[in-house]
Amino acid sequence: MNAILLMLLGLGAMFLGYVFYSKFVAEKIFKLDPNFRTPAHEFEDGVDFVPTNKYVLWGHHFTSVAGAAPIIGPAIAVIWGWVPAFLWVVFGTIFFAGVHDAGAIWASNRNKARSIGALTGDVVGKRSQSLFMIVIFLVLLMVNAVFATAISGLLINFPSSVVPVWGAIFVALIIGQFIFRKWMNLGTVSILGVIALYALIYTGPSFPITLPETVFGVSDNAQWIIILFLYAAIASLLPVWMLLQPRDYINGLQLFIGLILVYGAVLISGPELVAPAFNTNTPEGTPSLVPLLFVTIACGAISGFHGLVASGTTSKQLDKETDARFVGYFGAIGEGSLSLATIIAATAGFATLADWQAVYHSFGQGGVSAFVEGGANILNNGIGLDVELSQTLLTVMAVLFAGTTMDTGLRLQRYIFQEWGNIYNIKWMEKAAPATLLAVASCLLLAFGAGGADGAGGLLIWPLFGTTNQLLAGLTLLVITTMLVKLGRPMYVTLVPLLFLLVMTIYALLIQLMGFYQKSDWFLFGLDLVVLVAAIWIALEAAGTLTRLRREIRQSTQSAE
């Protein structure tokens, strides 16, 4: 099949989903009301609560939720063939992610823009709230470990990207100063920044950098992981305007440029999908498609992380309640389109099936490197960009995303440790530096504990990360469903995704648990067990809350009669 057809089918379906399904959900289920006084107006303070133009808010929401995860997940999952990944991304975006994201904004908006974590406590119960904190901590822990592994792999596979990846940090630092001190307007700075970044990307292939194979017995992969965490630790202690904010902004620009380039190149060259539609010849050790596909692709189909963004910052800036449809649902579609581009790159970007099979020689391989290699070939055929240059460009895009997420993730983890220090009265843990050290140590432990001494196997925890992320989404869906039941509205639009997610994640956890047991990987076995307990707990909470609510409603209608 031709990639253009796949692209049009996918984008068309998601667009129809926006036009019809999101309209139905917004008007009939959430009943978004243009006259509702949003928290942004009610508590307007110029800081947290600011009514914001819906396109601006969409840009902010979309660039906050889109990262490396919607690239890594689908790039791993095409090992089962392109059809399953394609279907899950497209239908997941339409029926799961869009409803989840818009619903999270709506739920938060109707509750004084409180975060989903706080809402869980109010709407579902205190026990669920503590569960929520645990799941968030696990997600952050895994995201940092996994991204460090992914970046180090990319830096080793594509040494030409080392100079632009680290150079981008200096570009961001300079941009940050220019904007913060108002030396230049943002438009000019953005253009100069993008030019500087692309100049770095252009020079990257001329100065490839590789680390020595071992230093004091530490492999190059492990060296990169340590360097990355060192960087992330320092970065997370800097004020946000200095590095994180300009970096995030450049990433946003990169995201749009990258998407336009990849989709444009696909349209021009029209490559054929060389990967099989359904891969019947999966490498040994590949787990079965059901349920693993649904946890391997989390971001891009449905991701709990979006609920945190939606309820944390987006809902506080919602100008009109009806904007939730565009910002939330269309934000999810933006991320779905990034995943779709990844699927195309990782399946159509190879010359022959044998080439593709060589990359996907075992489960967890391929991944983001396949996206870079395939995407680079497509860019080369489509717009004639040199292959090595294209590889550098796409690697930089993926690494910058992952790096920014590590910065943010470590920062959030530090806050959690500081809060624990406060709660349990451990004075030293309340300080920023020791709390950061603890956060880094726990992530390193996970990266090397799961990935072995050289950290190369860290991507093994990817499906586990996806599972935890889905559980977070499950909690958000539970909050929305509970609200819908209380309002006496149909709950199936969120209940069906919730049940589906719970079944798939628990099933996937059990399968992985068996796998870790057979391999005697006790570290991951323990981690899996913790997540499994959380998953079953959420399932029980969901069942308990919904039956209690239904009983209450039945009783109140009976007493009314």
Binding site: T52, N53, V56, N185, G187, Q245, D248, Y249, G252, T313
Partner: protein, 90 residues
């Protein structure tokens, strides 16, 4: 005429971009600024709380200017009532 329209458009685009740039971090930056201001408050009012301040000759002048924010500050610092004998704001 055309050029003016383009300039207008660019201006508007710049404004949107500035909003996108600032929106996600507005509260984090405001919080950081507040933390710095809190420390400054402590310096200005330290003498009144019995902490010797070598710059009190200068900070004394600032006290009336910062008095407006004093109530919010002592609440934020976890003191329910004004810690100063001199002026009671609540």
């Amino acid at each position: 005429m055309k050029i003016r329209a383009i300039v207008e458009w660019l201006k508007q685009a710049n404004e949107y971009a500035t909003n996108v740039y600032n929106a996600p971090y507005r509260s984090a930056i405001a919080r950081a600024k507040r933390d710095e201001d809190d420390l400054f408050m402590l310096l200005v009012f330290s003498e009144l709380m019995g902490v010797p301040n070598p710059a009190s000759y200068y900070t004394l002048e600032l006290q009336p200017l910062l008095l407006e924010r004093f109530h919010e500050w002592h609440l934020r610092m976890g003191m329910e009532h004004s810690p100063l004998d001199g002026f009671r704001c609540c």
